[in-house]
């Protein structure tokens, strides 16, 4: 796709722009979760002493991936900008999509399926879960809408 562009004319790399946005969105939301809820509010715990070891493993993997995704996503973004191949509209759409998808994943899989931790301890959980997951879904849908609009805005964009 990059090779197919006309030489000389700086064309945006649509796929990379979107994916870099998704990567940054996932990583930012994971980092916000870590920093705001784990460290500042201390609603989640460092370790709640009831987590099974499989969940511990997946949590470690997710945690390590978050840092790499954050750094890699921003370097990817910088590379696209440097080559004038960035579509900022698609990157924003990808960002919202990634952030929403991660929040929903965290709310459903981490909290409910793996039971890594809950949003908060010692309170009635249902309102927290509803707010968390609805907010994630809203972000996700906003991302889809932005991507949809961005792609229908450029009919000359070829196959995508």
């Amino acid at each position: 796709m990059v090779d197919a562009r006309l030489p000389g004319a700086p064309t945006t790399d649509l796929r990379s722009s979107t994916l870099a946005g998704v990567l940054i969105g996932v990583a930012i939301m994971a980092a916000v979760d870590e920093i705001v809820f784990h460290q500042l509010l201390a609603w989640h715990h460092f370790y709640d002493r009831s987590t099974p070891s499989v969940a511990l493993l997946s949590d470690g993997l997710l945690h390590a991936a978050e840092v790499i995704a954050l750094v890699g996503g921003f370097f990817w973004f910088a590379d696209l900008r440097r080559r004038a191949a960035l579509s900022s509209r698609l990157a924003w759409g990808g960002f919202l999509l990634g952030a929403g998808a991660f929040q929903l994943f965290d709310g459903l899989v981490d909290h409910k399926v793996l039971r890594l931790h809950q949003i908060r301890y010692g309170v009635h959980l249902v309102p927290y879960d509803v707010v968390w997951n609805v907010a994630g879904a809203v972000l996700l849908l906003a991302g889809v809408a932005v991507l949809w609009r961005a792609r229908s805005h450029r009919p000359d964009a070829g196959p995508r």
């Binding site: 511990l56 993997l61 390590a64 991936a65 890699g72 590379d79």
Partner: protein
């Protein structure tokens, strides 16, 4: 409190033997400075600074922190400095490149031979290096090795040397600016960094969870100290992972720098347009 145990035990720590590791560090720093001054093409000062920071972290680890190494928190701080932060500073200083610049030809030839050796490629593969550094730490924390190293000074220094060597190997294999023939591509290196960091994080939480029993064979275990050591390990691992990821993606970013000169490019396009467009519209498609 628990201070009586470590303090009584730390008596040998303040005596002569722990200052011994300082000499090689001073030698390393001095040798590098001398080589950087002698480099005929001029050596990047940022590299020198990185080396000196690495050496300073080593000094902190073997100097002021050494008497604390019987305390789990002190041991963990030493591990972070010796095995993770100091090696990154040393690797980013590109000592092999500097040596290749200033050493006489016979030394350079033997370095070249060493870098092309099959065994080194196997050892310096990111997967091997990740296994050596995170796996080595797991070996220390999950087996009676930790308790044994507390009793035998030789083993104690050997563990520290392993931290440093494995950490250096890992940082070099993942993000080092020094020459590394047959180094695998970005995906493999990112994968190794991910695996090592995830292993480190899981190990830290596992140590936290099992602090009552975990480093087996200890005489006077202190679970609370091991729990705070595990937290230090977890967040210290994060910091190192972040720095290593920045170093790794910086090399990727630099390798993708557009090679073509930006200035002369527009000119041929204008020329082609000027000549092509009046005659035939189809020619402009090729421009």
């Amino acid at each position: 409190m628990t201070a009586a145990g470590p303090l009584a035990h730390a008596g040998h720590g303040t005596a002569g033997p722990t200052w011994l590791p300082l000499f090689p560090v001073v030698l390393l720093a001095g040798g590098y400075l001398l080589a950087a001054i002698r480099d005929p093409r001029g050596w990047d000062h940022r590299r020198t600074a990185s080396w000196l920071v690495g050496c300073a972290l080593l000094v902190v680890a073997v100097g002021p922190l050494a008497p604390l190494s019987d305390d789990p928190r002190g041991h963990m701080a030493q591990h972070l400095l010796l095995g993770m932060l100091a090696p990154l500073g040393l690797v980013l200083a590109a000592p092999v490149t500097l040596l290749l610049r200033v050493a006489p030809p016979p030394v350079r030839r033997s370095i070249g031979r060493l870098l092309r050796a099959r065994a080194l490629h196997l050892l310096a593969h990111p997967a091997t290096a990740a296994l050596l550094t995170t796996g080595g730490l797991a070996l220390v924390l999950l087996t009676p090795l930790y308790a044994a190293a507390e009793r035998h000074p030789v083993l104690h220094h050997a563990v520290h040397l392993h931290y440093l060597a494995a950490g250096y190997l890992f940082a070099w294999s993942v993000a080092g600016p020094d020459p590394a023939p047959r180094r695998p591509g970005l995906a493999v290196r990112v994968g190794a960094l991910l695996a090592a960091s995830a292993g480190h994080a899981v190990l830290a939480k596992y140590l936290y969870a099992q602090a009552g029993t975990l480093p087996p064979g200890l005489v006077d275990a202190d679970p609370e100290a091991f729990r705070s050591a595990a937290q230090l390990m977890y967040y210290g691992g994060d910091l190192t992972e972040l720095l290593l990821a920045v170093a790794l993606f910086t090399t990727w970013y630099q390798s993708r720098r557009p090679r073509r000169r930006p200035r002369p490019r527009p000119r041929p396009k204008v020329v082609i347009k000027r000549f092509a467009s009046p005659e035939d519209g189809s020619l402009t498609q090729t421009s």
